[in-house]
Subunit: 121 residues, 2 copies
Amino acid sequence: MTGYAPAEAARRSGFSLDTLRYYEKIGLLADVERTAGGQRVFTDDDLSWLVLFRCLRDTGMPIAQMRRYAQLAREGEHTVDERRELLRRHAEQVEEQMRLLQRQYDHLREKIRFYERLPGR
Amino acid sequence: MTGYAPAEAARRSGFSLDTLRYYEKIGLLADVERTAGGQRVFTDDDLSWLVLFRCLRDTGMPIAQMRRYAQLAREGEHTVDERRELLRRHAEQVEEQMRLLQRQYDHLREKIRFYERLPGR
DNA sequence: CTCCAACCTGGAGTGCGCTCCAGGTCAAGG
DNA sequence: CCTTGACCTGGAGCGCACTCCAGGTTGGAG
């Protein structure tokens, strides 16, 4: 009973309908169910994949790597080590990204303070 | 005496030579000096602009907006209010970006913990 | 003076991640 | 039934930020 129409899946995942179709086309999202007439029906499982993709995408993982992860997951339990390692390496890159962002943010705030201290304001 | 050859400016700024030429072409970097023969000579002032561009770019500012900022700075002192506001608005977006990144990073770490707690490991 | 690595220009090409389109099909409300 | 809005496909197009290229010039070391 948990089947979502395309528009509903788009709304819930925050991806556009075009993006959902694109993700299926490139093999990120596999085997999406269809009605007899060929229209997509998304399951809760598809939705939770989409939540994961959003997390990975928001943290800057390239689509090729997300595809690799999804591929491994489809291959079965013997790939759990590799999947965990893939996520760990990605997390390290995210940490680096956060440090850089913080550093540049601090730099930006300093620049703003320079403007705030300008005489005449 | 503080003039840098293109390769040196690239090394110091971390931008490629092609990127430096591109930034000049689109009007981010204006009036770069030249030798009699037409080769670029970068000043310390150019270099500090590049440091700023790196900061803004690393924090996700689109080039069009960096151009606007550079344009304002060239127009003179009467644009300081607008420049400060531009940077402030950008800083707010960076804060939002940092919150999202942190949130998704936490999500990612949870996923990794799930793998670490898997039986049999 | 000669050499050659570094530089120049205008313009084409690239990679990523979508986004849009034309021309049709499906399915639920009235 | 009929309508109409949501959906389908394959493929082209887009926006961004570079990156590369061909074909020619420059300038410092030897």
